[in-house]
Symmetry: D2
Amino acid sequence: MIRVGIFGGSGYTGQELLRLLIGHSGVTVTAATSRRFAGVPVAEVYPVFSGLTDLVYTDTSPEEMAGLADLIFLALPHGVSMEVAPFFIRAGRKVVDLSADFRIRDAATYEAWYRRHTAVGTIREAVYGLPELYREQIRTSRLVANPGCYPTSIILGLAPVLRSRWIDADSVIADSKSGVSGAGRDPQITSLYCEVAGGFKAYKVGQHRHTPEIEQELSALAGGEMKISFTPHLLPVKRGILSTIYAGLERDVTGEEATALYREFYRDEPFVRICRAGQLPTLSSVVGSNYCDIGVTVDKRTRRIIIVSVIDNLIKGASGQAIQNMNLMCGLKEETGLPAIALFP
Amino acid sequence: MIRVGIFGGSGYTGQELLRLLIGHSGVTVTAATSRRFAGVPVAEVYPVFSGLTDLVYTDTSPEEMAGLADLIFLALPHGVSMEVAPFFIRAGRKVVDLSADFRIRDAATYEAWYRRHTAVGTIREAVYGLPELYREQIRTSRLVANPGCYPTSIILGLAPVLRSRWIDADSVIADSKSGVSGAGRDPQITSLYCEVAGGFKAYKVGQHRHTPEIEQELSALAGGEMKISFTPHLLPVKRGILSTIYAGLERDVTGEEATALYREFYRDEPFVRICRAGQLPTLSSVVGSNYCDIGVTVDKRTRRIIIVSVIDNLIKGASGQAIQNMNLMCGLKEETGLPAIALFP
Amino acid sequence: MIRVGIFGGSGYTGQELLRLLIGHSGVTVTAATSRRFAGVPVAEVYPVFSGLTDLVYTDTSPEEMAGLADLIFLALPHGVSMEVAPFFIRAGRKVVDLSADFRIRDAATYEAWYRRHTAVGTIREAVYGLPELYREQIRTSRLVANPGCYPTSIILGLAPVLRSRWIDADSVIADSKSGVSGAGRDPQITSLYCEVAGGFKAYKVGQHRHTPEIEQELSALAGGEMKISFTPHLLPVKRGILSTIYAGLERDVTGEEATALYREFYRDEPFVRICRAGQLPTLSSVVGSNYCDIGVTVDKRTRRIIIVSVIDNLIKGASGQAIQNMNLMCGLKEETGLPAIALFP
Amino acid sequence: MIRVGIFGGSGYTGQELLRLLIGHSGVTVTAATSRRFAGVPVAEVYPVFSGLTDLVYTDTSPEEMAGLADLIFLALPHGVSMEVAPFFIRAGRKVVDLSADFRIRDAATYEAWYRRHTAVGTIREAVYGLPELYREQIRTSRLVANPGCYPTSIILGLAPVLRSRWIDADSVIADSKSGVSGAGRDPQITSLYCEVAGGFKAYKVGQHRHTPEIEQELSALAGGEMKISFTPHLLPVKRGILSTIYAGLERDVTGEEATALYREFYRDEPFVRICRAGQLPTLSSVVGSNYCDIGVTVDKRTRRIIIVSVIDNLIKGASGQAIQNMNLMCGLKEETGLPAIALFP
C-alpha cells in the first residue's frame, strides 16, 4: 500500500481526491490537511463520507506529512504550493501539484499572469501532467504539475490537428464553458445559487490565467509559438467543461478523415474517446468519469474544423488526472481507481 | 460468472442496471431487450457506455432469454411483467421484477389500484425485496418483487418506530419529494425541462399507486392494519427521493433515544446510515450511491417524531436494490457492485 | 407622487422592492440605502436596472431619510429595524417593516425566538400586514409588520378552515419548501450553487423562527391557542414557496365543499386564487407574480384535508406584499404596480 | 382597441404572446387557435392565466379569423405559415409571422435549407422584422417576418462593426448558447428535464437552419456576401440566448472605441443596451425583458474583437419582438406592453 497525503483537502478538489482515493485499491490516505476544518472528521464536512472513513482533517506540518506519506497531493491555492513543494522533493517524496505553480516553464510568464515565483529552481523538476502527451516523463518524475481544467479540454482537443499541421495556428479560438465547481467552495456572491441558476455569462475574456498554460502546450505541439483567443463562460451546472474549438484548415479534409486522425492519435489512450464522424460529445457523457470525449466536424462552407471536447472538470480536469499521474509515478496500472462510466441521468 | 439478462433495458431503470452490472465483478450481462431500440448498440442510446460495452439491444423472446440468462431483471411496465415472470420461474430461472406486479400480496388490492392481474397464482411465490426486512426469504426466493422508490424511503424510515410500537399508527403522514427520473424516459410534457426547472408541485395527492404497497408493509411492521397520508411531489432534480415523515408519539422520548433506536435497528445493515442526533440527511449525500440515510427529530412541543429519509430513486429505490437482491439470491456478497460514495458536488 | 425610501436596499428583498417600485405609477423612489454599496449606482450592483434608473445607493441617515420620503420600507435584518422604526413613526412617516421585529405581539415570545427587543412600546402600533386578514387596520396604520414568507403561505392556506372550525387545531402539520432567495444574498457555503443544485433538504425542523408568527395568527383564526409542526425545506429553485398542509377534519366534507368554502372566503381578494376542486397549484403558476394560489383536497381514507399553497417568496412573501400594504396605507388602488401574470416557462 | 388574433397559440411562443398581449393597453386578443387544445380554456393549459383571461383555444378558420382580427400573429411551424399568410394579406389584414417562411428573400435558399415554398410571390411583401435595422419599412408593412432567436442576437451583435467595415467579414464565428424553450413544447426525449439538467452540448454544427437568415442580414450590413461559422448549443436554462461572437479586426481599436461605436449606433434604440467598456452582459440581465444587451471586448494579443450579445429568446427573440413590430405597424408607441426589467434572481 502506498501512503498518500493531501495538503489542502477540504475544497471541492480535495474532496474529490478523497472520494476517489478511498475507493482506490493501491493506496491508503494517511492525512488530509485543512486549516479551516482541523480536528473535524471529513465525514462531517462532507456527509457523503459518512460510514466510509474515519479520517479527520488535521493541521499537519510539511515535516510531519513527509513522515506520513510517500506521495503528496497539493490541493492548495496558487502561490502556496511553491512554498512547500521544494521541501517534499528534497525529502524524497513524490508530489502531484494541482495548482498552477509549476505548470508554466518560463518563470517570467508565470509572474506576468500570476505573481512572484519563489521556487524558480524547482520549475525545471516539474513535468506537465497530461499523460496523453507526457506519459513517459511522468513515470519517472518526482514533481508533476497537474494541468488546469480548461487547458486539459483544449490541449487534448487540438493536439492531433496541431501535430499534423492541418490547421492555421494563428486562427485558433477556444470558446469554453465550465460548471461552477471550478470556482471552488469559497463563499462568494458570484457562486451563489441565485446568481448562477437560470443564468450564463462569459468572464475574463482575453484575460484568464489559463491562457499562457494553454499556449505553452499548443506551441510545443505546433512546433512554434502560437496565440489563441480563449473565452471562458460560467455554465449553470455543477461539473463539467465543454470547449468548442475553431480553427482554419490548411488542407481539404472531410469529417471522416479528421475523425480518423483523432482515433489514430488517441488509439491506445485509456481515457480519451473519439465520437463517430458526425457525432458530438455531450457533457452528460463524462460527468462522473475520467474520460475526455472529443467530436470533430468539418465545415466545408467556411473551411474550418470545429472540435468539441468535454471533461468532468473535477475528475479529468483535476483530481482524476492527478490520480492518473500518481498511478504512473508509482508504477500502478494507469486506470486504477478512476471511474469510467458517467452518472446519467 | 452468473449470466444475467435485462428485459426492458432502455429506460432509465434499465440503463442504471446496465451501468451497475457492467462494473459488477460476479456477473456478465448476456442480453438487454428493447423493442424501440432493437438492433441499436447500447452505447448509441446512452453514450456513457461508449467504449465500455459492445452490447446491442435485442428483441429477444422470453424463450431465448431463458437460454441466455440464469437471472432475469424485469424492467417492464406494470402489467407486462406478470405476462413473462411465470414462464421464467417455470423454466427454473431467477427473477427480480422491478414493476409493481408482484409487490401486493392481495390480488384484489392490486386490481383496485392498478389493473386486472393475470398471474395471481405467482404472487405467493414472490418475496418483497427489501433486504433490511426480508433478507433470509430473499436468499432462497425465485421471484423477488423489487420495492417501489417511494415505499423504500418510507418503510425504511418508519420500520424502527412501528415495530417498537412507539407511535400512533393512525397518525402517520409521509410528505415525499422525488426527482424527475422517477417518471421515466417516455417523452411527456410534464417531464420537459421547461415545465420542471424552477418549479415544484404535489401530484396524485391521496391517489398514488404506491399507497397500498406502503400500507401493506407498514401494517406488517405495526402488527395491524394501518393507513397513511402519502403526498408525492415532483422535485426539480434528476435523482433522489426525500421523505419527511410525521407521527404522533405514544411515549415521551428524546431525539437521542430515538436515534439510538434507529442505530440499533439498522446496526448490521450495509446500506442504511443513521445521522447523529440533531442532524438530518440531505439528498446530495446519497445521489449516486445505494445508501438510505435517515435522520430522526423529536418535536416536544407537538409530541411528534419527524423522520427524514433519503435515497437515490434509481439506485436504492430501483436498480441498486435490484442488484442487492440479486447478490442475495445468487449467494454473492451483498455489497458487490453497489456504489457507496455519492457523487458530490 | 408619493415619495418612498428603502432602508437596506441591496439584498434580494430590497432589489425586488426597487424592481416593482420603478414600474409603479403612484410613487417615486427617492433613496435606497446600503452600507456595503454606498456610492455605487443601483444599476451596477444589479444590471437588470441598467438604463432604467439613475439611483445610487447611499448611506443616508434616518434623519435625512425622514426628509426625503413619506413612506419608508425597512429591508433590514431582524434587530436593526427596531432601532429605526420608532424614529420614523415619531417623525410622522409611514413605515412598512419587512423584518420580524414588529410581527410578534408578545415581546417575551419575540425574545424567546429572536433576541432582546429594544422598542417594546412600538409593537402595539404595528399591524400585521396580511391584507386578506387585516385590510382595514392596514389602511390606517403607521407601522405595518410585513409577514414572513412561510407564514404568508401557511396562514392563507389555513384561514378558511380554521375560522370555520372544520379542523382539529392540534393536528396541523405544515411541510413547506422554499427557494434559495429566501436565504438572502450574503455569501455562505449553504447557498452556493454546487451545494444546492441537484440537492434538497429539511432544516431547522421544529426550530424555525417563523413558528411563533404562524402560531400567533393561526391561534387568532382558531379562536384559541394552537401549535403546529412546521418543517421548512430548501428547494433547488430561485424563487417560490410551496406549503403542503395537513389537518384532521372534524366533519365529513367533500373536496368540492372544501373548495367552495375557500372560494367564498377569498371571493373578493385580488391576489388569492383557488384552484378548481381536484386541481393543485404549482410553483410555476405564481413565480414572478403577487398571487397566492391554493388547492384543497380531502382524503376520505384518512379523514384529512390536504391544502397546497404557493407564493413567490420575494413578491407575495415579501416585497410585493409590502407594496400591497403601501398601496393600502397611502390610499392607492391595492393592485397598483403588482405583477399578476407569472413568468412561464 | 386593435383586435389581434393568434394562429397557433398553444406553444411557448403563443403563450408568451398571450402573456404580453393581455397586459398590453392598446390591443385586445379576440382569438387564439390550437388544434390540440380547441375548446380548452387558455387558463387550463397554462395556469399562469388563471383569473386573468376567459379566452378559450379555438379551431378558428382563417376566414373567421380575418373577421375577428385586424392583425394576426402566426405562431405556426415552418411551412404552415406560408399556407395562410397570403390569404390574410389579400383580406387586408396585417400579419406578423413568427416562422421562417418569409425571412429568406431568396426562395431557392429557403428551399435548400427548409422545404418547398408554396407562396413565393408573397416573399417580396415581407419586411424582415428587426426594428433596429428596418423600422421605417416595418411601419408600413402588411407582412413582417419576425426574426429567428439566434439571428436576432447575432445580427444586433455584429451590425455596428460590419457597417463600419471594422472587421474581416470572412473571419466571423458565432458561438451561441440557447435555453431549452427554443425547442418548443412538443414532448421529445432531447427536451426532457433528465436529459438537459446538468448537461450541455453543441448541436447541428454548421447545419442549423438559422444560418442563411443570419448570412442574408450580415451580408446586407457588410455590403457583400459573407459566410459565418455558427454553432448553436443547448444551455440548461429555460430562457435566454447568449452569443459569443469573434471577428478579426481590420484596424487597431481599443475596447473603449469599440464600445463608443456601439453606443452611437444604438443611441436611440429603446431595447438595446451597450455595457460599459470592460463589462459583459449576462443572461440574467435580460431574462423576462425585451432588451438585447451587448458587451464588446478587444483582444489586442490576437487582434480580434469579441462581442457578447444576450436576449430572452421568447421575448426579444420571438414574441416580444413580434409585439414591437405590431406596435410599429399599428402606429402605437414602440415600447407599449413590452417588459423592461428582467426578473432577477
